[in-house]
Every structure is written in C-alpha cells, then in structure tokens.
C-alpha cells in the first residue's frame, strides 16, 4: 500500500457499520436542529442494537452560521443524551471530517465504536449570502460574491477549456435526479426542468436544492464491526487535502487536492465500482470525475448526490453513508466516497470503502 493513511488503516481495520438520514426537505420550520437529529440518532443506533452508553466516542459536524447562534452544537448534544458524561468532540466542518476525526480516534485503540453525526438547516436564511462569510474577510467577503456565482466562474472556465458544455451539464443534472427516483430521502427526484440561468452558464437545474437534513453513521473496529454488521464497509483509506483560498491562484478546472486525497486513500490502486461524489453543482462533477479518474464503468451517485439533496454540513457525510450502505446490501464491493468544503471545491476528502469478498 502507499501513503501514510493506508499503513495506519492497515494497522487497525475500521468500518462504517450503520447509516441513517432524514428525508431532506426545503423547510422544516416546525423542527429545531435537535428535533431533526433525534430520529436519525435513534435509527442508526437501532440498526446496530447499540445504546448511547455503548458508544466509546462521539463526534459531530455543524456550523453556527446556519443556526444563527454561537455554540449551536451544544444543543444537539442534548439529543445524544450525554449523561453520564461522554467522550465527545465537534468539528466546524461537514460531518465527513467528523468521521475522519472519529477514525483517527479508533486508530489509537482508545475506542472501538464511534457515533458520527452532522446536520444543517439552510431554510431559515439565505444560504447564498451566508456562504459568502466563508471568504477572505478583508478582501473578498466585503464584495459578497455568492456561492452560485463562484461555481459559475468554475463552470465557465470548464466550458472555455473544452472540458464540458451546457448539454453535458444538463445530462449530469437529469441523470442525478433520475437516480434519486429510487432514493426516498432525496429532495429533488425524477424529471426536473433545467430552467433559466441563475448565474450564466449555470441554470436552476445545475444547482443543488436548498434544504434541511441530518445524517448519522456508526464506526466500529475489527471484530466489533463484524458483530454489529453483516457486511461492514471497511475504510481501506481516507484522506483529505485543502487548496489555496484565493480563487485567482487556483486552476479551477482541476482538483489537485481531490486527486492527492484519493491517491493517499489508495483509490487508484484498484478500480472502484461506485463513487458517491459531493458535487453540489453539475460542473463540479466534471472536475471531480477527471481528478478522481472515474471512467464510464463506475456508477456515479446512485443516490442522486448533492444535486438531489444538499443539506449543508451533512451532504458530505451522506456520501460516505450512501457508499457504505451499498456495500452493506451487496450492491457494491469497492466504493469511493467524496466530500467537499469551501468555494469551488477548495477542500476535499476521499474515502475508499470495501466489503468482504462474497
């Protein structure tokens, strides 16, 4: 194997053993974050028969900027039931990175099981405006360039480079929403019109739906994983990399950080049969397919991906959960799961999951 992460993973086998998510909805006015999260936590625990007190480590991902208040994650902790006190941590990142932190905790041998969850309610605010607060606070954020406009810059760069065109982007959109037809949790399913330009060249159909949702997974190490799951989704490698923040110094038609993360995660050692990509915009799937060397034989986003449901802070962890679930039910033997953060795919995480031979 190559890469630090694989050597470490080889040292202790760790698997995703359960996955649960909400139905992702445009609005959930009647629910607080805790109320949205609670059923998912109960469901993921029920899938393994574990109780809160059986979990060795808990880690979550969320952002105060969606909740509109400081320390919003402390309320979610009430939903976990942290009494007696639990060993627990939180990242202000997509839940995929919370899973990464939990994976390192299991690698140390201090924990055999971990509960990982994340959630986001985008509906109370204007998420296009909110995401501008991620940008350089002195030189860029004061201009309020919104997330669709930045993605459109990337899309136009791809078209200019001859990497794609508008019909190809429309095909990504329709394939994703068709696939979501068999995903009862998805927000946009079946035939969805491409619609008008939101920011040229991106049309409504090229953009993700805005919505609310939550996700939870359980990790377990070694024999514990086999006890809890008939066919565990073993994490053969997982790695994440970040790029420069300034869009002006990046090559937007490529994703060197996604490629490097994939290489470190061992994704290129053998072909995968499935890939769950966190590509909120159609054009970003084009970038990722190229960077991750995914050819026509790989099933891309059978869940519908982020174009069918994009609860911010949860959508990346959902990709890992969806990939793992396909391994659990025997629909995949080796899957790649990807998560992203920041403008125009600035930060990327890649996990390679495998099931035992059947």
């Amino acid at each position: 194997m190559t890469g630090d992460a694989q050597e470490a993973a080889g040292a202790r086998e760790i698997a995703v053993v359960a996955f649960a998510q909400t139905d992702h909805l445009r609005t959930t006015d009647e629910l607080s974050e805790v109320e949205m999260l609670m059923p998912v936590l109960h469901e993921v625990l029920a899938r393994t028969g574990l109780k809160t007190s059986d979990i060795d480590f808990t880690c979550s991902g969320s952002t105060d900027y969606l909740a509109g208040r400081a320390f919003s994650f402390t309320m979610a902790l009430d939903g976990v039931g942290a009494w007696p006190p639990i060993s627990e941590s939180h990242v202000e990142m997509d839940g995929a990175w919370a899973l990464y932190e939990a994976w390192t905790k299991l690698l140390t041998g201090e924990a055999d099981t971990a509960l990982v969850y994340s959630y986001g309610k985008s509906s109370p605010g204007s998420v296009r405006d909110v995401l501008t607060r991620q940008l350089d606070p002195y030189y860029v954020a004061p201009l309020w360039p919104d997330s669709v406009a930045l993605a459109a810059l990337q899309a136009q760069a791809l078209i200019d480079a001859g990497d794609t065109d508008e019909p190809a982007l429309a095909a990504v959109a329709s394939r994703s929403r068709d696939a979501a037809g068999s995903n009862s949790h998805a927000q946009l399913r079946g035939s969805v019109a491409q619609g008008d330009y939101v920011v040229r060249p991106l049309r409504t159909g090229d953009c993700p739906p805005i919505g609310d949702g939550a996700v939870a997974v359980i990790l377990a190490a070694g024999e514990r994983a086999r006890e809890l799951c008939e066919r565990p989704a073993w994490i053969r490698g997982i790695d994440h990399r970040i790029e420069a923040h300034g869009l002006g110094v990046r090559e937007l038609t490529d994703s060197p950080s996604a490629r490097l993360a994939a290489e470190k995660a061992g994704a290129f050692e053998r072909p995968v049969d499935t890939a769950e990509l966190h590509a909120p915009f159609t054009s970003q799937e084009v970038v990722l397919r190229k960077a991750l060397r995914l050819d026509g034989d790989v099933v891309i986003n059978p869940s519908g991906g982020a174009l069918a449901a994009n609860p911010i802070m949860a959508a990346g962890l959902i990709r890992i959960g969806e990939a793992a679930a396909r391994i659990h039910r025997g629909a995949s033997d080796r899957a790649l799961a990807h998560a992203t953060s920041g403008p125009c795919l600035q930060q990327n995480l890649v996990a390679v999951l495998e099931g035992d031979a059947r």
């Binding site: 992460a5 320390f71 942290a82 007696p84 627990e88 990399r241 953060s341």
Partner: protein
C-alpha cells in the same frame, strides 16, 4: 496495538494584547505558527497536517475561517482540520492533533488556536436572541457567578479567596512576557477594591479580552529524537462532555470534569495527583474557579480547595503551583486559551518557562473547559517518555 508516543517539540505564542491592529487574522496565526516552527527548528515543509481551533465563528464574523487561513498556515496540499468545542477548544484541538500522531496517521503535525477579539464583540456573539431559549445577555460572568456563590455557600470559604487567586495570577503574569495584562503596581488591596461586576466576582477577578494565537508542533518518537530542545511527552489526554442543563447537574463540580481527570490520571498512571503532579495550568476565567477546579480535578477533597489557595500552596513557589503563566485571568484570546494552558504545561516540563519556571517540574497538567461547565479537555505531559 500500542499507540505511538506523542511529543511536543515546538511552542509559539504571540504577545497577547487587547488589539493587534497591525496584523490580519492570517498574520496573527502565522506569527504564532512561525515561532513554534522556529522553536522546533523545522520548516513548513516538515509539517504533515494542520489542526486548528477557535471559539465561535461569530466572534470575528468569519464562517469556517480555516478555509481562508489555509495559505497563511502552509496547509495548501495538506490535510487541515478545524475543531470547535466551545471554550475547551484550544485543548481539544491539541488532543485531536495528538491522535493523528498516536494513531500513526502522520509524523509531525502543527496545531494552533486563536482569537482576535478586537475584530469582534464576544458579548454580542454570545447574546444573539434564540427563540424559546433563555437569553444570556449578561455574558459569561452572569452565567458563572451563581455557580461561584453556590461554591462559597457549600464550602464556607472566606470571601477573600477569589481576590488571592487574582492577585497571584496577575503577579505571575509579570514574569511571562507573552501575558496580556502586566499590572506592575498590582496589590491585593487594589483587587479587593475593584468594582463588583457579578457578585461575588469583582472586575479584577475576571479575564481580559485578548488578541492572540498559540501554536504547537507535535511529533512522533522519531521526530522527538531529532528535536533540538527537550521535548514534552504526552502521558495522557482526554475529553468529556455533558449537557448544558439537566436536573441533577452539579454546576460547581461537574461530573464530566471529574471523569476527564480520572481518565487522564489512569493513562498516566497517576494515583495521587496532589503528590505526583508538579505544576497545574488550569482554565480559570473567574478567580474562584481555581479552588473549584482544584477539587474537581482531585487535588483537594471536596470543600477543601480554597484552603490550598489561602495557604499559598498554589503560588509560583508553593507546593503545587497553579497558573504559572498568569492564567486566563491575565490573557484570554478565547479560542486559544485552552491551548495556552496545554502549552504552558509543556513549557514547564521542557524547562523553558523562563521566569515563571517551576523548579524541577517533571509532570504538569494542562486543563480547559467550556460551554456551561460541560466540555472538558486535559492533558498530562512529562519530561520523560511514557513507559507504557
């Protein structure tokens, strides 16, 4: 499989002040990181991954600022993690970084925490109105003062104990060139005459608002062997959380704090912390939290913590020095405050604490807490590598 031993080989801080108007947020964090690298005699290229922490993003008004800080921290092309566990975050961030070494994912990791309070308004950031929730309009002092009163009533501690802590910590700060408050003319009388803010907490018994960053370079056994200066070795580390409010919660001595300390002592094979630990750097944002945490962490029996403070045991030249750096009472860049505690513990066992060095410190505890006394993170570091 045994864990890889974790060593601290580089420590860097900014001079903490009320307002660093000469640097951006990026400039502030880079200054601390550069100093940690210089201390370790390493370069940016030697760093495998970056783990950053800070308190709520609303404090500076930057959402997920690690994205913007990737360049300043040399993280481009590397893994970068952003931890947020309320006030304990500086400690938790160091522990997350230590797991990357202990789990053998990486060899050398830069960890950093910061707050630039001058670009923010922490009181406002903590006081956004939330539907169906009790407002926290009085800031942190209003939240914690009733817990302090409960401690005093429970233990019968004399009213003066809080002022003794503040007087000690502010004098310790005079020996620490990085501390924010340097009150050359501090006297016990001045502390006791300062205005009452949240009874029984007086103005001079509260922490300042600071701009500052703290960074550490953590590495494995091989990295420690190359270290130009003595490393601090991690002997134990743990985090514990409990809900903010619930029936039966002991807000004075939370169970999560007791459990966290017990886990660290178990890992470090400490049976009697009072005898076996040479120095303690704990998170004391309001003076009375020193005696409260002394009990919570097992250095004194319940109801007895204030006696250690009153008898001078926790002075810099006492039997169990507490907050040698001047503590949070002298320096509070909120998100960094936990990491500064962890770093001070490491400085002590490396023998590099300068004027506030505890003679012969071999084992030191770093402690942080946050939220409504509900998130705890601690580590115990030693001058010798761990034996198991």
């Amino acid at each position: 499989m045994s864990k890889e031993p974790v060593a601290v080989v580089g420590i860097g801080q900014t001079k903490h002040v009320a307002a660093r108007r000469d640097v951006s947020i990026a400039g502030l964090v880079r200054e601390a990181a550069g100093r940690a690298l210089a201390d370790a005699e390493l370069t940016w290229a030697d760093i495998d991954a970056v783990v950053i922490g800070k308190a709520p993003d609303f404090f500076e008004g930057v959402m997920m600022p690690e994205l913007y800080l990737a360049d300043a921290l040399g993280a481009v092309g590397k893994p970068m993690l952003r931890v947020h566990t309320a006030g304990s975050v500086g400690g938790s961030t160091a522990l997350v970084a230590s797991n990357l070494i202990a789990g053998r994912v990486h060899g050398t990791v830069l960890t950093l925490a910061y707050e630039k309070q001058s670009e923010s308004n922490a009181m406002w950031g903590l006081s956004l109105p939330i539907p169906f929730q009790q407002p926290l309009l009085a800031g942190a002092g209003g939240f914690f003062a009733p817990h302090v009163r409960a401690y005093i009533r429970r233990t019968g501690a004399p009213d003066t104990v809080g002022s003794l802590v503040a007087y000690k910590d502010r004098r310790n700060a005079l020996k620490n060139p990085y501390a924010h408050l340097h009150e050359q003319d501090i006297t016990l009388e001045k502390v006791q005459a300062s205005p009452m803010l949240w009874d029984p907490i007086r103005y001079s018994e509260t922490c300042p608002s600071s701009d500052g960053a703290c960074a550490m370079v953590l590495t494995d056994r091989a990295g420690a062997a190359r270290s130009p200066r003595p490393p601090a070795w991690m002997h134990g580390g743990a985090m514990r959380s409990e809900p903010t409010l619930f029936a039966g919660k002991d807000a004075v001595s939370p169970q999560a704090g007791k459990d966290c300390a017990a886990d660290v002592y178990r890992q470090a094979q400490i049976v009697d912390p009072r005898r076996e630990i040479d120095a303690v750097e704990m998170y004391v944002p309001f003076s009375w939290y020193e005696p409260m945490w002394l009990e919570n962490l097992g250095f004194a029996a319940e109801g007895e913590g204030w006696k250690l403070t009153e008898s001078g045991v926790t002075e810099l030249d006492g039997d169990l020095p507490v907050n040698m750096s001047g503590g949070v009472l002298s320096t509070n860049p909120i998100g960094a405050s936990g990491m500064i505690r962890f770093a001070e513990a490491a400085l002590q066992v490396r023998g590099q604490a300068g004027e506030h060095q505890v003679e012969g410190a071999r084992r030191a505890l770093g402690h942080a807490y946050g939220g409504g006394s509900q998130f705890f993170s601690m580590w115990l570091v030693g001058a010798e590598p761990p034996t198991s």
